[in-house]
């Protein structure tokens, strides 16, 4: 189980770094879908190896919500947006450097948790947390609404991975709440983005600057 969980979490991190690297929106969206699938595989593997039936259900819902419904909604939001939202000449080198630094930070912050854990999956916990941190970084530095949402979703994926690795799944009501939550957030985001586009002719949130001070 240790090898499998480490491998899957590591692949998840690689995909996250690819999301940081790529600048074309369709490519980033595909990478997000791939990451969601990896995490679902992680959940179902742990579910089988640790004899947690509930995790299999969670993995199934995860695939549907984050691997299918949300990417579709995101594709709908992104339709019509320029493929590359970032201004020309801006390289992702600095972002990748920051993301690499965040992996180190994740290991440092998660030290108390890995020290307290006596699980076969504990080695992968900092990797999942690194995914979350990089997602947060993407969300904060996102240049438009799509960037914000994608960053937020990667952040959520990281936390989901961490929860699976550290606790083998949360109580059902919480898991259900989380899924409902992400779904509703993305749908509301879509409504808001549609309205922003109607008002401003763009989803560039730099144009949202009436409220200051």
């Amino acid at each position: 189980m240790t090898t499998t969980s480490n491998l899957l979490a590591f692949l998840g991190l690689v995909v996250t770094l690819l999301i940081v690297w790529r600048q074309s929106w369709p490519a980033r969206l595909r990478l997000f879908g791939a990451q969601s699938l990896l995490l679902a595989v992680l959940a179902s593997t742990i579910g089988m190896l640790a004899q947690r039936r509930g995790l299999l259900l969670v993995a199934a819902v995860f695939v549907v919500v984050k691997g299918w419904v949300i990417p579709r909604v995101l594709a709908r939001i992104g339709a019509g947006a320029p493929v590359r939202s970032i201004a020309p000449g801006r390289s992702s080198g600095i972002s990748l450097l920051v993301a690499g630094g965040l992996v180190v930070v994740a290991y440092v912050i998660m030290l108390p948790v890995t020290a307290a854990a006596e699980l076969p999956t504990e080695g992968a916990i900092p990797l999942a947390f690194a995914i979350a941190l990089i997602g947060l970084y993407l969300c904060v530095t996102g240049r438009d609404a799509l960037g914000h949402i994608l960053g937020f979703l990667v952040f959520e994926n990281g936390i989901f991975g961490l929860a699976i690795l550290a606790t083998y799944g949360l109580p059902g009501i919480v898991e259900a709440g989380v899924f409902l939550d992400v779904l509703v957030i993305v749908l509301i985001m879509e409504a808001v983005v549609v309205q922003v586009r109607r008002e401003h002719d763009s989803i560039d949130v730099d144009r949202l600057k009436e409220l200051r001070g």
């Binding site: 912050i109 108390p112 948790v113 020290a115 307290a116 854990a117 979350a132 947060l136 969300c139 609404a145 914000h148 937020f152 952040f155 959520e156 936390i159 961490l162 929860a163 550290a166 606790t167 949360l170 109580p171 009501i173 919480v174 709440g177 989380v178 939550d181 509703v184 957030i185 509301i188 985001m189 808001v192 309205q195 922003v196 008002e199 401003h200 949130v205 949202l208 600057k209 009436e210 409220l211 001070g213």
Partner: protein, 468 residues
């Protein structure tokens, strides 16, 4: 049983109101708000008379701390509800009532469950229920405010989820029953054995996450926008009780953290964030030119004070903080409701444009002045008493610094309200709307001058839970 009824009322109301329109909607709205208030007060009285009430195998549970919040949500909810039809007279009421009661429902669930996982779901639910209310007027500014609100609070609440996961992780190491490991009562029992470093880390995430919802600096940036752009009844609910629900969530974890990681840890974090919030709010209170924004920063200031009280801890600090939550809720909902009437009359939310309030709209101006004086912290209103309690708790522990901030803020408020420029107003509101405002002011006077019987006992019982 009673607890289930309390939660069912706003939920059923929200469902029925989704398709209702016209007079039916207004009547149903009033009925729902009235029943919610009645049930909230009934639950509070029942809990304060005896043991905590529970339902669904303890999944829903209200102790005295919950009862305090339930009563507040009931009262502020009713105040805000009473203003809603007046506000909606100028706009289309589509789904406003429904979302309003859904918002109240999510807040009530957050404070009346024993499961910190469900509490998290409910706190997140408050954002989802209220985001459309913030954008209810569909202006560019309100759209921007709701986008910021949704994004920042969703990220914040996701951080709180991380904290909850870590608490659960620490819990199941001690306790094998997964279904009950996130129960607050279980956590309190397990607290001495929880891994201290993990709990410290979890608490940092929880404070950042729920602190975002509570409007603590530096996570407060969504708050002035959302509060100033939301319709007045929604601003009153957000400022009056939504922020306190965020504080409540932090407060739930504090006793367990104090036991598991030692009392100094939570204290230093709360004091630092409290001080920062008061300082940031003080700076922005000087510069706000929009009165609703100014009131929003005043909320940041008061939540900072509450946080300081909780940080100082002990019986005095904790009781002061709780009383301050209640007083602030009453005073702030009054001024937000009145500010809505002022904006309707003057057609502007700029401080410079609404001068001469006392002469032009005395029936709005007088209670507005009274509630503002209360918010500044002057006697005879309740906020004076609770601020003194918090500051006294600080003094006994050698924190005289806080008083300087308090003084600065008072100066700020006086300058902003000392010399209003004179410009004509449009109309004067009637006597009918005065009742809810007068009732709230009376409650504020009561907590300032003569505590009603049972208040001191209720505070003592809460302190026994939160700061044993």
């Amino acid at each position: 049983m009673m607890l289930g009824v309390l939660l069912a009322i706003p939920l059923v109301g929200a469902v029925l109101l989704w398709r209702a329109a016209g007079r039916v909607a207004t009547a149903l709205h009033a009925l729902t708000a009235g029943l919610t208030l009645t049930a909230a007060l009934a639950v509070s009285v029942e809990v304060n008379r005896g043991e905590p009430v529970a339902a669904l195998d303890g999944f829903l549970r209200a102790d005295v701390l919950s009862a305090w919040m339930i009563a507040l949500i009931g009262i502020v909810g009713a105040l805000a509800a009473s203003e809603a039809p007046r506000y909606l007279a100028h706009t289309a009421p589509a789904r406003f009532y429904s979302l309003f009661h859904l918002f109240v429902f999510t807040m009530l669930v957050a404070v009346s469950t024993d499961d910190v996982g469900l509490m998290w779901v409910a706190v997140e639910g408050t954002t989802l229920a209220s985001v459309f209310l913030v954008n209810f007027e569909h202006t560019r500014a309100s759209l921007e405010a709701s986008y910021k609100y949704l994004l920042i609070c969703s990220v914040g609440i996701a951080i709180a989820f991380l904290g909850t996961v870590l608490v659960y992780f620490a819990g199941i190491q001690q306790f094998n029953d997964e279904a009950h490991a996130l129960r607050w009562t279980t956590l309190m029992r397990l607290a001495p054995g929880l891994a201290p470093r993990v709990i410290e880390l979890a608490f940092v995430f929880l404070v950042v996450g729920y602190g975002t919802k509570a409007g603590l600096a530096p996570m407060h940036t969504w708050l002035p926008d959302a509060h100033s752009e939301a319709p007045p009844p929604v601003s009153a609910l957000m400022s009056g009780v939504l922020l306190s629900v965020g504080v409540y969530a932090i407060l739930r974890f504090k006793p367990a953290v104090d036991v598991a990681a030692g009392p100094g840890f939570a204290r230093s974090i709360l004091l630092a964030l409290g001080l920062l919030s008061v300082a940031v709010a003080a700076a922005f209170l000087w510069t706000s030119s929009n009165y609703k924004r100014m009131l929003a920063y005043s909320s940041v200031e008061h939540i900072g004070l509450v946080c300081l009280g909780l940080g100082f801890g002990g019986a005095l600090g904790t009781a002061g903080a709780l009383l301050h939550i209640a007083n602030h809720a009453l005073a702030k909902s009054i001024v937000f409701l009145l500010s809505g009437r002022i904006r309707t009359a003057y057609g502007s939310a700029e401080i410079a444009a609404v001068g001469g309030l006392m002469r032009r709209m005395p029936r709005t101006g007088a209670p507005f002045l009274a509630a503002m004086l209360a918010l500044i912290g002057l006697p005879p209103f309740g906020l004076f008493v609770s601020e003194v309690m918090i500051l006294a708790a600080g003094f006994t522990q050698g924190f005289p610094l806080v008083v300087a901030f308090g003084g600065l803020l008072r100066g700020t408020h006086t300058i902003l309200y000392g010399t209003p420029p004179r410009e004509p107003a449009a109309e004067i509101s009637g006597w009918g709307p005065a009742f809810p405002v007068a009732a709230a002011l009376l409650l504020l006077l009561l907590t300032g001058l003569a505590w009603p019987p049972g208040l001191a006992g209720a505070l003592d019982r809460i302190v026994a839970i939160v700061a044993p």
